[in-house]
Homo-oligomer: 197 residues x 2
DNA sequence: CCTACCGATCGGTAGG
DNA sequence: CCTACCGATCGGTAGG
């Protein structure tokens, strides 16, 4: 059973799905519990039979995404392949997440500031660690002479944010397919814009 | 006189500067007029002697940035140089904006959703047109055989979002200088990660 | 899961 | 630029 289906199976799951869609569209702070309740089809007070607070919803969304990220990078990190292959795999993973798990990833990426302590610190630490692991893979590639001598943390920022740009593709009724999008992105990031002579 | 100084000269300018900083930090919806008033050093009610509404502040920030973008791309578009040079110039312009005019650019990029009509539609149109002009430059480069055969709109999204990633560099007490950052970004975007044999 | 309701806070105005 | 205040809306609870 796919994740979205598993979620929909319970009322709490439905609340999380609707919340992610609304947080993405209007932002966490601008989404009211009454808006959310209406989308779910119950009264605002009834939401609290399924969730403890508005912030708990955001926590569920953000940490779900963080867990998938961490699991994936650990698997790729320890896999036996060339560094450039690891990076390509990581890029393709992020692109897939963005096209298939759009609402959750977007919210986790843009609305995590509204988390409260201790969740805020926890999330920021996980984020920082993820980027460090990613940068370490790039450093490995530079050492092995597969990758240009660049500043690895900068390269990580570029790649992660470049992929988050798919947001606009997602909204714009795609003139190209998800597959074409993925191939274009990987090519641009790995080989650059300039045509080799 | 630099722009920030010109702004600070008037009370309204000071309000705009403080507002941009707070909208960036907490988001537009989560920033209250009382928070803002405190940062400016007056009572909340007194803000309204300088501005008409909370939304007017956001409009000022977003359209200021949009105007700078439009002026710049028109100048670059009509300049006499190779296409790859135009793109590099555009990249460097965006990177400079992000390092020198951080708060305004960030807010314009992430909080414009909270604009109200007719400003919302106006802003979205300007944004779309900007991207079209950028994509046209890339198409020109493909035709002239300077740039790889890629989907131009996708390349635009990648580049603009990659640059917005500087946000994290900005926050992280930069281990590398602004100049190094710029050179790294331009190199990665133009020539890619992979080292040529 | 609903009705009824709480205290807090919001953007903004009146009047000086 | 301030004091005083408005109606609306917020997240959340009590009690059934």
């Amino acid at each position: 059973m796919a994740k979205a289906q598993r979620k929909k199976a319970s009322k709490k799951g439905l609340i999380l799905i609707k919340a992610a869609a609304m947080f993405r569209e209007k932002g966490f702070a601008a989404t009211s519990m009454r808006d959310l309740a209406e989308a779910v089809g119950i009264e605002a007070a009834s939401l609290y039979n399924h969730i403890r607070s508005k912030n708990e919803i955001l926590e569920a969304i953000c940490f779900d995404v963080a867990n998938v990220y961490n699991t994936t990078i650990d698997a790729i990190e320890s896999s036996q392949q060339k560094t450039i292959g690891k990076i390509e795999q990581l890029l393709r993973f992020h692109i897939k997440q963005m096209t298939e798990n759009y609402e959750d990833v977007y919210v986790s990426d843009r609305e995590w500031k509204h988390l409260e302590e201790p969740y805020l610190s926890n999330f920021q630490t996980q984020r920082r660690n993820y980027r460090k692991k990613f940068a370490a893979i790039i450093e490995e590639g530079i050492t092995k002479n597969e990758i240009r001598k660049i500043d690895a943390p900068t390269a990580v920022l570029i790649m992660l944010h470049a992929i988050s740009g798919i947001e606009s593709w997602h909204r714009s009724k795609a003139k190209i397919s998800a597959q074409e999008l993925e191939e274009n992105m990987v090519m641009i990031m790995i080989d650059g814009l300039r045509k080799q002579p």
